[in-house]
Symmetry: C2
Subunit: 204 residues, 2 copies
């Protein structure tokens, strides 16, 4: 791409660094911003700068928050005896949307991934262990992705946590609701048969 302006090229380069944003998309987004009013562009960049400068992480669960202790950890209605361990804030949002969970969270901030240079020390694992040392916690749910990185992290956490007097569980894996058997991949289907549960339990 040959740009008629160095300033334009710089802005497109910056947008193109975002995950999943190619050069053509970056150019489209930058030209869109350029058509907006000064105030709208200032609001766009201001929101990002403000987020970066002022963002806090809950000192208990490490979820993104505007204050030192997030809403969920501060709520007297949430069950502090159950901790759901997740990768990032998106997973908290997804689980909160189900309205099925009344415990609290622990946000690791990633998954163990040697390929990406992410080791256990890069995640909030020691802080999780500290939470268990209080003896208040009865159950830890490992709600991590069904990927290689997720499984590696679950395995690592299990070894770290198994000597505590807590129930360690993982979220159920199997066929999604509405999923048709013939389209399910072999691994999922095989595992969902191996980990079958009595009918009485499956209906809650």
């Amino acid at each position: 791409m040959h740009f008629s302006s160095r300033l334009l090229e710089q802005a497109v380069d910056e947008f193109g660094r975002l995950p999943g944003v190619g050069k053509k998309t970056a150019l489209r987004l930058v030209l869109h911003l350029l058509k907006q009013s000064d105030g709208e562009v200032a609001r766009f960049t201001g929101a990002i700068n403000q987020l970066k400068e002022q963002i806090k992480y809950c000192k208990t669960c490490f979820n993104i928050a505007d204050v030192d202790t997030c809403e969920i950890c501060a709520s007297p209605k949430r069950d502090k005896e159950i901790i759901c361990v997740v990768e990032d804030t998106r997973d908290v949002m997804a689980i909160e949307n189900t309205n099925q969970y009344q415990g609290v969270y622990h946000v690791l901030g990633g998954l163990i991934s040697p390929m990406d240079g992410v080791g256990p020390a890069d995640l909030k694992i020691e802080a999780l262990i500290d939470r268990l040392k209080t003896g208040e916690v009865k159950e830890v749910i490992l709600a991590l992705s069904a990927t290689m990185e997720g499984d590696t992290t679950i395995f690592y956490l299990y070894r770290k946590l198994k000597d505590f007097d807590v129930q360690i569980s993982t979220i159920a894996r199997g066929i999604a609701f509405g999923g048709e058997l013939e389209y399910v991949d072999e691994v999922t289907l095989g595992r969902s048969i191996a980990t079958r549960i009595p009918y009485e339990r499956s209906v809650g």
Copy 2:
């Protein structure tokens, strides 16, 4: 979506306003930025602010530029007798990439679109007419998209320009190179037969 942080929500809202960026993508992009260093985020927002504050438009062709007269208009190598009229800077880039064009450009800044509230007065049409009044221009190529808006704009420009002593042409429409006949839409195929050209001309 329930956000654990108002700052996060604001930044996601701003990203979600960009064309083609949904809420989930916006959240993914914002969380990516949040993981970058302070310097990298400052460079991202700085590039956009700088572009918006300092961008200039060539006073002759209205292409985006860092100076008052763009590289193309300033070049003694470019043929000032031919003006290629395009919608925006992306079209200039696309045509420059072909290395087939040695004339200059005129960037309209959009296409006539009553649906989007864009009328002729919103485009750089008067400035194009002023360029023709110098008598220096011999040909105007209308290189606009083969869409309803493109055709409307071509029709409007043709009426405005036809009384000047210039050749007005449009870029050829037809089957793209590598395109298989059976997959070409009816309108394109019909027109490409109606506007067929002698073989000797088709091979340049």
